[in-house]
């Protein structure tokens, strides 16, 4: 028997409505009743959490760990260490690897590799369509048996509404949530940044907000038709929030997530042509930021995620329109959300913020994580919401360095990450 006692912390467990000073006892990889009598020979590790917050292990349901096929950018091993350093005990990997996750053998390969090399829980999504090509359904049932937790063509978007409809109907048989990267290819074209005043001034091809919104609206209609959930990934536009809000008010099973960069930065950053500000969907305007934060505050957006997207420096250090989309996210995510949503904007309570990183994504995907109920997996994140720190990309655990947040001063971060009762990272 091994036991860990986290003493005297402020336990915030939104799934159980708990917010109180208490001890947390972990025994053999599970959360135990703190009053459990331990045999005298038990080795008990004690962690003092006085003045800190003890939360369920954080979940990021949107990361790119790049394996198989793109291990120069990131590996499951390095990505999981970056996750642990950001306070995350579970992540959900996107399927746009090389080859794509569109067969049970790739799913098995990833999960085996994660078991061997990852210091946190790595969950895997499967592609909606073969090769992420948007045409034929991938072997969804076989991938479900192999262990995927959701479906998405992330990085790509199914353009054919009939294919999307049938995918939703088929996925329902397995209880798999379909997640969608919302992008209309015709409207977006070769767009590399938000279409607006800045793109007009710079002469860079624009990626209009309507290119996202039209697919969010499509998803609202299909989710209603099929009575099946659709989760809209990394929403960037205020218009998407409005569509989501209207759909949810009518009981449609549509949900949405927001990423730190979309509430921290605007398209003005791109005046420098720095490719660390190039992401998909793109950085938009202050008005979009305000509407996204309002969507977090009023409960329209229910999940916070990073879209952790590592790229090699040599891939990013090219002409703006040739650079790949995406930035690192896991190690700055919690700090940015605490700094912006909790401290600066006061958009929500700490408990709600934690819920959006724990029980909300767990319920969306139906995974048994995200709570500190007795008997739950002993995944715990200890955080200090008031700790001031400076982002240093050179200290990142990721294989890549593509972050626009280097040098930012943030308030709040994780200080210890515990997976299955064992500390995998501490500050």
């Amino acid at each position: 028997m091994t036991a860990t006692r986290i003493r005297n912390g402020r336990i915030i467990d939104p799934a159980n409505g708990r917010d109180e000073l208490a001890d947390l006892l972990l025994i053999d990889g599970r959360v135990a009743d703190p009053n459990t009598a331990l045999p005298p020979e038990t080795r008990v590790e004690t962690i003092d959490a006085t003045g800190k917050v003890v939360a369920p292990g954080l979940i990021d349901l949107h990361v790119h760990f790049r394996e198989p096929g793109q291990s120069a950018k990131e590996t499951i091993a390095t990505g999981s260490r970056a996750a642990a350093a950001g306070g995350f005990t579970s992540v959900v990997c996107m399927p746009n690897t090389s080859p794509a996750v569109d067969s049970p053998s790739v799913v098995t390969w990833i999960l085996e590799k994660a078991k061997a090399e990852a210091c946190i829980n790595v969950f895997c999504t499967g592609a909606i369509t073969k090769g992420l090509a948007g045409e034929e359904l991938a072997p969804i049932g076989s991938m479900h048996k192999a262990g995927i937790v959701a479906l998405t063509d992330d990085g790509r978007c199914v353009q054919n509404h009939e294919v999307m409809r049938r995918a939703l109907e088929y996925a329902r048989m397995f209880g798999l949530t379909v997640m969608d990267h919302c992008q209309d290819y015709h409207l977006v074209g070769k767009g590399v940044m938000h279409e607006g005043i800045v793109s007009t001034a710079l002469g860079l091809p624009g990626w209009p907000a309507v290119g996202e919104e039209i697919i969010v609206q499509r998803n609202a209609l299909l989710a209603e038709l099929c009575d099946t959930p659709i989760h809209c990934q990394h929403l960037s536009s205020g218009g998407s929030v409005r569509i989501l809000k209207e759909a949810r008010s009518r009981g449609i099973k549509l949900s949405g997530e927001v990423c730190p960069h979309h509430i921290a930065l605007t398209d003005e950053s791109i005046r420098s042509f720095d490719t660390n500000f190039k992401m998909n969907p793109p950085l938009r305007t202050q008005r979009d930021i305000d509407q996204l934060i309002e969507g977090v505050a009023d409960g329209t957006l229910t999940v916070l995620a990073s879209d952790h997207a590592p790229h090699c420096s040599y891939e990013k250090e090219v002409e703006f329109d040739l650079a790949p989309f995406g930035i690192l996210g896991l190690e700055t995510e919690l700090g940015l959300f605490l700094d912006i949503l909790l401290h600066k904007k006061r958009a929500l309570s700490l408990s709600r913020l934690i819920a959006m990183l724990t029980v909300e994504p767990a319920r969306l995907l139906g995974i048994d994580r995200g709570t500190l109920s007795v008997g739950a997996h002993a995944d715990v994140t200890i955080l200090d919401p008031d700790l001031e720190w400076t982002v240093d990309k050179e200290s990142s655990a990721s294989r890549s360095r593509n972050t626009p947040f280097h040098g930012w001063e943030l308030k709040g971060r994780a200080i210890r990450t515990v997976v299955a009762g064992k500390t995998v990272w501490s500050l």
């Binding site: 090219v318 002409e319 703006f320």
Partner: protein, 317 residues
Amino acid sequence: MSAPLSPVPEWTHKDLVSIEALSPAEITGILDTAAAFKQVGTREIKKVPALRGKTLVNFFVEASTRTRTSFELAAYRLSADVVNISASGSSLAKGETLKDTAKNLEALHADMIVLRHSSAGASQFLAERLQASVINAGDGAHEHPTQALLDTFTIREKLGRVAGLNVVIVGDILFSRVARSNIHALLKLGAKVTLAGPSTLVPRAFESLGVTVTHDLDAAIGDADVINLLRIQHERQRKEYFPSLGEYTALFGLTKARAQRLKPEALIMHPGPINRGVEIDSDIADSDRSVILDQVTNGLAVRMAVLYLCAGARKPL
């Protein structure tokens, strides 16, 4: 050099990446320097030793004849050594990055790199990474600074001033680096700028730059002191922006009828290459009011001035 080269004391830039980053005094300084160099071009011996011993690389990742030739001649007249590189003949075609290719050029002691590239921001990208001077000869739809300088030089030369003039720029503004650089230069020098063209190619967002947007050329043409017609492209990717060249000409071409409505002293400009009968009537292009070939001649003097100033501002290696 005996030409009265007025110094531009505030000129401290090793690069010329954009007009947007220049002050009105710096723009005027370039134009004044160009005026002195234009004098040199009329002499029996057109060459001056200002850049003797310097190496200039004309690095044209996107095809160009006029601009490349103009920079090449400008460099020769300043006594620089010149190397021309095109994309198909360079290691970019073999997959080398822009940064690596440029670093190799610098390792060969290139002092100045003139870059034409299809990506907006490419010149700034190199300027931030090289000791060598980087001169933007067109980066995507972003800027084409020397074109705007030669256009304003021509306006100033022909009309005696730029401030207070009404300049109408017509055509495919959305995809035009010439338009963006001209907008900045003209506004900084005090002109009023009107953009005219189809609503698909002249979106209202341009008003944020401080210009007037119109889709009615006939309403704007009577007040124009200068009309600058941009080349219209329909052959490749513009088919969803307007239906046909014929309809474009009917709405926005400088036809004989429209030219009649211009003020008698108004200048007709075009950055070239012109599509006769499309954006401009063939006879109008050849008329007295057309300064299209003056623009080309002035381009040489303007580019000499730019090379001269940037070379002077560069710190020795």
